[in-house]
Symmetry: D2
């Protein structure tokens, strides 16, 4: 007897979506890849060329895809601005949902109405073996009480200008990149923390056009929680050397770091100029296995009806903090909150 | 239309065999895992518990397994001493063969009689992304002429005594571990090199019982080729910290190293005693993806009838050098060869 | 003919002062160590035991020491609160001055009145070979325009409580530790930068008594300059593993880091728990050679009447920024400045 | 009262000698640099320009220098071939001797006749903080019984050809470079070890002229001791990236390494090609502090009549092993010894 499989559809075939498509096909032992939604002609063409032969039905309308007969779940990898409506439509069709970040606040309520459905936000670092090892070290108490975190999420400079076009749909650098660091903060320092203040600043160093969409290509943020825990972020899209995410989690008795020495693999070249190692060039080179693990665990939770490895409320809280950081980045002003988490108003005299 | 798949059987379900079984199941898009050979009752039981549900037919006789109807290929992962006879039987049944190292000299002749069949020896490092990157750097000429190599293949100390029992079947530490380093040597310094001298020495440091099977748990070897290229090996089974393979390939204009800083993942723990990172504990933690890639490429070559990524003659040459090193290790004497590769006799006066 | 020497006196024999004393003795080729000022009985006793035999005259009054006949220069290593008055008294005696950070604003005016005297603030990192190498890389243009900096200055946790006593005299964690990072910021990003905003937050994690002196043992700061350059700081006194300063300088075309992998020396221990290296335990283990170089270059500038390697105005600017960070740390509020550098008033509505 | 100083003369002002001269001047608190021996006109000129002003008397005859009135000790840094006669002449003048490696066997006897004199061979690594830390770890038992050692002593490629001229005077690559690794072997594995076999091979890869002086620019050696301890060496003069010495000391319960990640300092440059660090370019960049410490400790031992930190017999034993390796390198043959350390004769049949 073979195990039952999860009948899955994929929405969105952009850079990340194409990677998901490949990953889903590799998980054919537990997942039946039955349908996809290709919003643009280019994505449709790619799907015809790459997915049809695997029996995947291609839709140009999201609503039609979620009504595909026998569908169990949908993986949403479209632009951030349509996540909310697409998740709601999927829930209406009684589908489990794995949605790329970010998620909006309203979704939590919508998901609560269908407690039998699994709704998970794709925070891939939660499925990365290194972050998980760091989490395990932290949970074991080896660094005492985790109190401070310093993270960076830095992308390689893309001369092609894709970033600028994409900026309007992404919600901004803290929503798009920084949200991973915020999620790490809640994961490592505490999911119940109450925000005290948020301050951010940055610059449109190599992409001045971003100013017109209220975005930046470099930003630094400082987030303080009531009780004294603090997080510090650096997000960038102008790295010459490649993709580099890292995190230092500092506790009262020690520190654990992830990726303090970025490396593509185990190779070093010794030459007249010194010793050189390469660095991953994009998120996929760094997180391919995390994406794969995320998908596998999501499928298992749906098939076995077990608890998801992460909480939807936390994903929503991350979006809220990211939005506050993005606002502070644009206004240049600190935003403060009282102990009930209510925003305090400030003014220049 | 779905692509055709390779119908594969697996022989041997020991430590490595079990890993292969898992890997084969993951490659279900290109491989049909149809049969396995479980030589021992324990292996048979494991197969019943883990493979039956995936439709794998279990045999307790190798001859019967290779006669399984519709079989295309066999992956041999049994004890080294039976590799030769099992490869020959598989070839007699017109099966492609992927055989764990080591291979014997006779096999090359046997394989040459069936030029339509693919016969490959499982040197997993040839499929590891880091060694491949190093090879690409070398091929590009970035280190000039690759002239010297220093390798180590070191396993974690196993208090359980498995090693001692296994020693009689493995052929000795140079045949079992060192052969990977020898293969790297030929791959990086040249597959046509002619052996000039071989010297080895070592000790049964933590496993004195190995002396009775003419084996050691630590050994160092020095291999010289006509023309001046030299290789230096260290193989060990007593590492406290884990599994650690590394290679330095030294050329006339630079050096490339693989794994000079072993690490389990990207985590570092900072504590009162300093900064600590973990190390892979066994070959699987280090080479899981290489094994997977090896299997995938072998399947592709069989299905598409393309050239295998490595040459059987080189695999056989590796065994010859390993055997000479093992002999030198036991006798304590250097072994020398003339420019035709013929062995020179030496004596103590 | 032997070269002339600088006749030097040392004020203060605390932890840092004792190290300076040792360093001065080692520079006997260019410096005559003629006098010292020992403010406390314990320091006086130490001087008797360690300096008398080298011909150093010991004073218990600073005013008397600066009047020591034939004195050329004084190195001030007393508590931060008395730096200002002591520098002024030294200038009144026509002495060159090397003063430990921090320096106050008034000093710049006082020093300007004696243009023939050398007045330098001891920012030891400016004399460290690694920071200098990073500076040279930056100046050469290898990272493009240096735009962002992320620094940390973290001390080992001191269970002895010295920190708490010292806090009242030090001016606070940003004045005492963070000032080095601020100096790096000005050195690498530009000494003419105009401050736009300063935000800090932190906690008294392991030393709650620090709250009573308006200090903290961990703090994070965010400093923004008009024009878009930004700095991010982390200062701490609770590190379990030792002393760890580091800096990432990020430019438009690359990044240079200093000390991303702290290590006491070149040793790694491989053991059952992994691979461990030690870390410097205090500032001296990390900066001994910088202190020595600083002293040597200061002496050379005095003897040869050459330009000092760093500008007093920058040292003063660092103190101003540090004071703003310390204020923000205590009030929890962002402080903002207009393009003329004038402070803007803010209020909670 | 000032402490007495050691009145020291320096013989030889080549590359290493000039460095010693600088070091001696820096130790002016304990050493009076009174005389030097400049064998060549160029060295004489350098001494006039650099040492006369410090009161150093310059000799063109070694015999005259060792008769300098009031002299206590001599530091010999001339060519290896004259070490023996110069040490004997110094002992005849009742001088303490610090002599650069290598030392010859006869010296041990000569030194034994003057037990009141200090005679030390300059193995600088014994004074390096990292090797000392590794030694302390080993002595503490943290790696169990130190049983195997893998070392390399690799110099940067020198296009200038100095190496070739120098080769005739140096005694060959194992005498000149490898001797440091041999000394480490005896220091870490045991000074009483009895040699069992020696095997070496190599090539004159970039300096084919070295063949005419029975030398090579790359060599690998394998040294076995009775009882099962083994050492493996790699020495080279063709490194593109700089100077790189390293050692792995492997024990029954762990491993300690020195310099597995060579670095000039704490700087890393992140650029479009990856992450690059520089490497020390020569022995001085790596060992300046070791040389300084060696000189200081030698002076202290002479002044206080305390035991030297290393044994002359061990230095002599290192030369014997180095000579055997050099012979094996040239003949291509293994050399074997019985348990009394007597050489066994071998022949090709």
């Amino acid at each position: 007897m073979k195990s039952p499989k999860l009948s899955l559809a994929l929405a969105g075939l952009g850079i990340v979506g194409k990677k998901h498509a490949t990953n889903i096909l590799k998980q054919s032992r537990v997942i039946d890849f039955v349908a996809c939604f290709a919003p643009t002609p280019a994505e449709f063409q790619w799907a015809v060329a790459n997915l049809t032969s695997h029996g995947v039905f291609i839709y140009s309308q999201y609503e039609e895809m979620v009504a595909h007969p026998g569908l169990d779940a949908v993986l949403i990898s479209t632009a951030a601005v349509v996540h909310e409506v697409e998740v709601v439509q999927a829930l209406d069709q009684n589908l489990h949902v794995l949605c790329e970040k970010p998620l909006s606040t309203n979704l939590e309520a919508a998901a609560r109405e269908k407690p039998n459905l699994k709704v998970m936000c794709g925070f891939s670092r939660r499925f990365d073996e290194s972050y998980r090892h760091a989490k395990q070290i932290t949970t074991t108490g080896l660094i005492g009480d985790p109190s401070f975190i310093r993270c960076q999420s830095c992308d390689r400079y893309d001369a092609g200008g894709f970033l600028v076009q994409y900026s309007e749909l992404s919600g901004g650098i803290f929503i798009d990149l920084g949200i991973h660091d915020i999620d790490l903060t809640l994961w490592f320092l505490g999911e119940d923390l109450v925000l005290k203040s948020v301050t951010a600043t940055g610059a449109a160093t190599l992409h001045p056009q971003l100013l017109s969409t209220n975005d930046r290509d470099n930003a630094m943020g400082l987030v303080e929680f009531h009780g004294g825990k603090v997080a510090q972020y650096y997000v960038s899209r102008i790295m010459a050397h490649g993709q580099e995410d890292s995190a230092d989690i500092i506790g009262t008795e020690g520190k654990v770091t992830v990726n303090s020495q970025p490396a593509r693999n185990l190779v070093n070249l010794y030459h007249a100029g010194g010793v050189t190692r390469e660095v991953p060039q994009d998120f996929w080179a760094r997180y391919e296995h995390s994406f794969s693990e995320e998908l596998r665990e999501f499928a298992d939770c749906c098939l076995l009806d077990t608890t998801l490895p992460m909480n939807l409320a936390v994903a929503v809280k991350s979006v809220e903090i990211a939005a506050a950081l993005q606002e502070s980045l644009i206004t240049g002003r600190q935003i403060r909150f009282n102990e009930q988490g209510q925003r305090l108003l400030m003014a220049t005299l």
